[in-house]
Amino acid sequence: MIDFSQSTPVILSEVRQLTPTRRELVLNMGPQHPSTHGVLRIRLTLEGETVIACDPVIGYLHRGVEKLGESHRYAQFVPWTDRTDYVAAPSNNLGYVLAVEKLCGIQAPERAQYWRMIMAELTRLASHLVWLGTHALDIGALSVSLYTFRDRELILDIFEKFCGARLTTNMMEIGGFSREIPPELPEMVREFCRYFPKAIQQYEDLLTENPIWLARTKGVGIIEPDVAINYGLTGACLRGSGVNYDVRKAMPYLLYDRVEFDVPLGTHGDVYDRYLVRIEEMRQSIRIIEQCLEQVPTDGPLMAYESQYVIPPHKNVMTTAEDMQRHFIWVIKGFSPPKGEVYHAVEHSKGELGYYIVSDGSPIPYRLRIRSPDFVNLQSLPYMAQGAMLADIVALIGTIDIVLGSVDR
């Protein structure tokens, strides 16, 4: 037990100013900088090229998404979740709709859950591809980024076929999917699963044994496992340090307990380990998608049972008076979940994405909190950066895998 009366608080002014000595240079990296993945700003104190201190300044992309969530009806907020982490929009949708479904006490039918899993894993692949491309680009491997974006197009094509949008998909709906799955979609996904392992092999050929890549990533940015836990890291940042925490395994949502997959864990906790872990995660995602495609029923409902919480099927709205009324009320007034508060987390491609919703029984969430993994993971940057070289900073930003839309919300 720590005796708090004994611990001396750090003197704030010293921390904040960190007055550079004459040998040191304060470099303001960002918010407009090619490798800060958006509008991250970092105040670096450099001695030569060695980083003495690093202070991330965020908030340049703050749009008040939580405040907006507290002024929109439950279903109206789904498109906003796309805009938090815009490279992995379906996963954000998923986290939100699962939280709302938990609040309402409903669950999507089996077939919809399988398709949600497929889409979530495809999202993970798309997000990891963006990560790999930009991470490699930061370190200077130009071509990998173009290869990954080439393959990401295939995933976006699948999204487009599925819901008509490519980036901000607004794909999941509360209760399941209200539209039928396009009949050619399973074959598209299968085709992609056949192709993609070769693509992963191509990236690995370019990077995994490349001596310059090894020199840039091995032993850089080590986070010890206990430090990782203490910082509250999740996702590949935590698993790269060897701690086994994957929400899909630890507290399975959807039907993740019905598919077999392994959670890759790193053995050293450095940038290279996180790279290996994410590459392996991509392989495991393909495994999950293949199993889902085998198990998913070809026919069956995609929307939850008819309750006040879900939008009635489109066909019925046009044919039955009752559903038309329900539809009218659902659209105009929204629905009122019971009073209460829920927290639901999903394994986003960056870590644990949690939605904490407090409901006061009105159609508008009383409090909507997004626990974004990027925000928490980014905190470990100063820890990793101290004593690193300037060039390592870009590798470290890359390895945390942030999207500023999700950090700033």
Binding site: L25, L27, N28, H33, P34, S35, L46, E49, A136, L137, D138, I139, G140, A141, L142, S143, L146, Y147, R150, L206, L207, N210, I212, W213, A215, R216, M389, L390, A391, D392, I393, V394
Partner: protein, 341 residues
């Protein structure tokens, strides 16, 4: 003073300069096309057939842009630095022999601008002054990224210049001269080893020196994977972050001209220059230089970037000892053994 020879020299130099500038423009096109092919892209293909007019369009665009001088820049130095870089770049080509003399209108026109008997050292000296364009540009911008880029560049160029120079010492020992003409003449001899008849190219007798020269030349011209001074992901654009318009394009031109000059030099020093099967001539040199240029682009498409300390460590801990070893070995061989070669 022989006015006639001087005029001929000027004329050849003028032609060479223009050819070099044209080549430079198409080098950018070549790089973009090759890089695009390697990355599953198309590359510039809209301006003219195969995008061949793209360099001209780029040039016009750059010339038409505003020339911005930052408020806290050291104005005079800021304006002069890119000119320095640009002016020094093509000078290196002056000593490269492009073939035997031509006889035209009763005049003997040598296909090189100046036959200096310390030609290789002259090229090295140009490289060492060329760094001023970078360091002064970085300093004068009044920008910390530029300053860091300039510092990196200075340290890098000094270190790799050392490697570059030392890697050539083996060639000097074998050729017994600093003159490119003499080195070329040496290489045009035929080497007979048992049943094999080989050209006496120094890539065969000095493979280590060739490898070192190639690595150091990539670093000297600030190209990937040694493009740290302008590492865009760390330093935005390094020393030319603040430059725009045609001053920016001067740095750009200088970099590409340097690449071409270094490729020509590598072709002349190690693989026999204009020497080749069937018929000697400038086309062989062009082909060899093109191969080296392709190699540059290939490297850029394949390799990540070194970190600064790794780069310096490579120069001082690996390449420099190897270069010294090469000198020692070559000296010993020359002293004791195979003087017959």
């Amino acid at each position: 003073m022989d006015w006639q020879r001087l005029l001929v020299s000027y004329f050849v130099g003028f032609v060479l300069l223009n050819v070099l500038l044209g080549l430079m423009a198409y080098m950018t096109w070549f790089e973009r096309r090759v890089l695009a092919r390697m990355q599953h892209r198309v590359g510039p293909n809209r301006t003219g057939p195969f995008g061949l007019l793209q360099p001209i369009a780029d040039g016009i665009k750059l010339l038409a842009k505003e020339d911005i001088v930052p408020a806290n820049a050291d104005r005079l130095v800021f304006l002069v630095a890119p000119l320095l870089s640009f002016a020094l770049a093509p000078l290196g080509a002056a000593v490269i022999p492009f073939g035997e003399s031509l006889h035209l209108f009763g005049l003997e026109i040598p296909l090189l601008v100046a036959d200096i008997n310390v030609a290789v050292l002259y090229v090295l000296a140009l490289g060492s002054i060329g760094v001023y364009g970078i360091i002064l540009g970085g300093y004068a911008s009044g920008n910390r990224y530029s300053l860091l880029g300039a510092l990196r560049s200075t340290a890098q160029v000094i270190s790799y210049e050392l490697v570059l120079g030392l890697s050539l010492v083996g060639v000097f020992i074998l050729a017994g001269s600093f003159s490119l003409q003499d080195i070329l003449r040496e290489q045009q001899r035929v080497l007979v080893i048992g049943p094999l008849t080989l050209p006496n190219w120094y890539i065969l007798s000095q493979p280590l020196a060739f490898a070192l020269f190639l690595i150091a030349a990539v670093a000297e011209t600030n190209r990937a994977p040694f493009d740290l001074p302008e590492a865009e992901t760390e330093l935005v654009a390094g020393y030319f972050t603040e430059y725009s318009g045609f001053r920016f394009s001067f740095y750009f031109l200088a970099e590409y001209i340097n690449m071409i000059v270094v490729s020509l030099l590598a072709g002349t020093l190690f693989v026999g220059g204009i020497d080749g099967p069937f018929a000697d001539g400038v086309w062989w040199l062009a082909l060899k230089a093109l191969f080296f240029l392709f190699f540059y682009v290939w490297l850029r498409a394949t390799l990540p970037r070194f970190r600064y300390d790794q780069l310096m460590g490579l120069a001082w801990k690996v390449l420099l000892p190897l270069a010294l070893l090469n000198i020692g070995l070559t000296g010993l061989v020359r002293l004791w053994g195979i003087g017959a070669l």
